[in-house]
Symmetry: C2
């Protein structure tokens, strides 16, 4: 199996100023391409340390992917280290990248400084993959039997470069036999899902494997992989098993790619030409925030009310005060009245509501982590209670995800 | 200077399933204690690799902090590796941790399995720091001249253990001369702030240093450090310079600890006994979400309206339709009417509003990244325009931060 190491460079990582998110994104892409990541390393902006560490990683791995250390103020360190490591004695100017540098700086209304233009200079030993999102090009070095890819450190530039790098790797290393399919599920924990799928999973052909990748916000991602040797019917055999998996999952599945609930909900509402609104208490705006994080959500999201105070629940959403008194704020009845209230207020086709206790303080009746979710729409109002056992931040996130999924299932029923 | 390495253990990191946030948190704590982090490494759940890598890190560093690999299903690998590395041939049971294991599992309503109880077994060479947040204890090994701390991988357990670990380090290593003070600022970029502070910074005593730690959401954190040798008047000298710094910053400073705008806003409102509400368009619930992420925010946050559709702006918030027509949705006039509308609706003392373009689509008039922020309160309505140049997600975050800060400055004026 082809082996890779990931190396991030920058003092800002070692003093804890930023969290390294590049490594996980690169690892995900490598793993999907069937390449094993043997280790990850973060190094300071120190030429000797960079050279010595990269040399060792290259000796132990087929591929090393580094990010960072290429900005206009620091590139003398990393780029010089890469030049020395690859035995380069002079730099050449990549004119295509130089043009990109000019274009990017102009579009931002910035002056083009010498230090910016110097970014298109690369060691003569480097092959260049253009970086269209930033000023520093991706450099590829063949060192001994191994290949080193040097990517910029800015996360959106590093992420943007990954597909090109994976393409480049595929052209040089024999990875052709691996196929993957992903489905996203929500509503069952990993263990319960595994029980449901066990008979089918046990009967999978020896060259296929199902991986469970749980995430509290987006649910359990399932990845079905075929580790074949490029046979003509591999695709068909994989699709065949995917079909069986999907029918076992039913409505637990919400997407056939790496995805989020709010994206799936958006597609569903768009496909139906319907609108939605939200009334939030304990989730405090998180549901609206998730829905509107999707580009184009203004086509189906009309608005929401965060009714933190009881007075707002009553006055703005029209929750009857005797319902609050009789059942308490955290109750099915209040969740239902909130969902109905915001649907009436905005005129949306569907609505969703939450009332619960995210913590740390409780109400003396319900345990912290309790939430009532309500929905309203053409089939009438529905409510459901969920219980979680996390801190405030994570309870809020889990409440919001549970509400989005409850709404999704309700809309599916209305189709 | 004392030197440390950070090592995270777990296949889930190397396949990119989770982003390693422990390393940055540990690095921040070490850096504050005056310890230099020389590198970070992530390793697979592989005994030989763990032993060989830790041995090398211990040789090159005074301190190694590892996290992960201690769960009930995997501890045989990491714990056995640590036993071998430290020359231990038998395990001893830590009864205090065993009691914690029982208590935690009971409180979650879970059965106490053998595999859970085995977590309190540690190599005889280990000194234990109790983990009150989880089942696996923190283990401390003296190996050669260096010290290895093994922490659990679950982020809130690892983070919870950091203060105890730093205390333990301080007892063993001579770090006494270093003092830090932190202030949080918002409203000026790093470069502008640096210009403002330059004369004072240039006149700082040789043993003092100011570090700029910018963050798009929380502003620029400033850390004033004194690298002394324990003189009696060090504290006083540092406080003296801190005073000067604070007077230069004025209202740019919002906190004297590592903090967020929503926390500072909460303290301010609590101290005045006043309430707030929000009317959000382009921020789509993010402002309400930030405000309600603070424990106890129900004391001052009444609620909010996310008015994504124009109809909700008009009908719920009472924005006059001729104002929308004459000035457009993204305008000072609409921001003002939204702020007034939600204040009227909820009866809050203060209110804040946003209307703008988070992207990717524009309105043909204003560039993507434009936001009008409004506030209303006892001094009447105010508005301000901000422009950013990011993608949708980051524009939303920046709009929300700018709005919280505009509101903070307005409330300060009303005191």
């Amino acid at each position: 199996m082809t082996k890779a190491a990931i190396c991030t460079i920058g003092d800002e990582i070692l003093i804890g100023q930023i969290v390294d998110t590049n490594s996980a994104a690169i690892a995900t892409a490598l793993e999907s391409a069937g390449i094993r990541v043997s280790r990850m390393v973060s190094l300071p902006d120190n030429r000797e340390v960079i050279i010595e560490s990269l040399r060792k990683l290259l000796k132990e791995n087929d591929i090393v992917i580094s990010t960072g250390g290429l900005g206009p103020t620091k590139d003398d360190i990393t780029k010089a280290a890469l030049a020395e490591l690859s035995g380069s004695t002079r730099y050449v100017d990549n004119l295509e990248q130089k043009e990109i540098v000019r274009t990017i700086l102009h579009s931002r209304g910035l002056d083009v400084l010498e230090s910016n233009l110097a970014q298109s200079l690369v060691p003569e030993t480097a092959r260049v993959i253009l970086n269209h999102l930033g000023t520093a090009p991706i450099m590829v070095f063949k060192i001994g039997e191994s290949v080193l890819y040097s990517l910029p450190g800015v996360p959106h530039e590093a992420l943007g470069a990954i597909p090109d790098v994976i393409e480049d790797i595929k052209a040089s290393f024999p990875l052709s036999g691996i196929l993957h399919r992903t489905v996203m599920t929500f509503g069952k924990a990993e263990s319960a899902l595994s029980k449901l799928l066990e008979p089918w999973e046990d009967a999978l052909p020896a060259d296929m494997h199902l991986a469970y990748l749980p995430n509290t916000l987006t649910g359990v991602r399932l990845r079905l992989s075929l580790y074949g040797n490029g046979s003509a019917d591999d695709e068909k055999r994989l699709e065949n098993e995917l079909c069986k998996l999907k029918s076992l999952l039913g409505d637990l599945m919400y997407s056939e790619c790496d995805d989020t609930l709010e994206n799936a909900l958006g597609r569903l509402l768009n496909s139906l030409g319907k609108t939605v609104s939200a009334a939030e208490s304990c989730t405090g705006g998180e549901i609206a925030h998730l829905i509107t994080s999707v580009s184009g959500s203004s086509a189906y999201f009309l608005g929401s009310v965060t009714s933190y105070a009881v007075s707002v629940k009553e006055k703005v959403l029209g929750v009857p005060s005797d319902v609050v008194e009789q059942y308490g704020v955290v109750s099915a009845e209040v969740a239902e009245a909130m969902a109905k209230g915001v649907r009436r207020l905005t005129g949306s086709d569907f609505s969703v509501s939450t009332t619960g206790l995210s913590g740390p303080g409780g109400d003396g009746v319900n345990p912290v982590g309790t939430v009532w979710v309500g929905v309203d729409g053409p089939l009438g109002a529905r409510t459901c209670r969920f219980n979680y056992h996390n801190d405030r931040k994570r309870n809020i996130e889990r409440f919001a995800s549970a509400a989005l999924n409850f709404l999704r299932l309700y809309i599916l029923e209305c189709r």
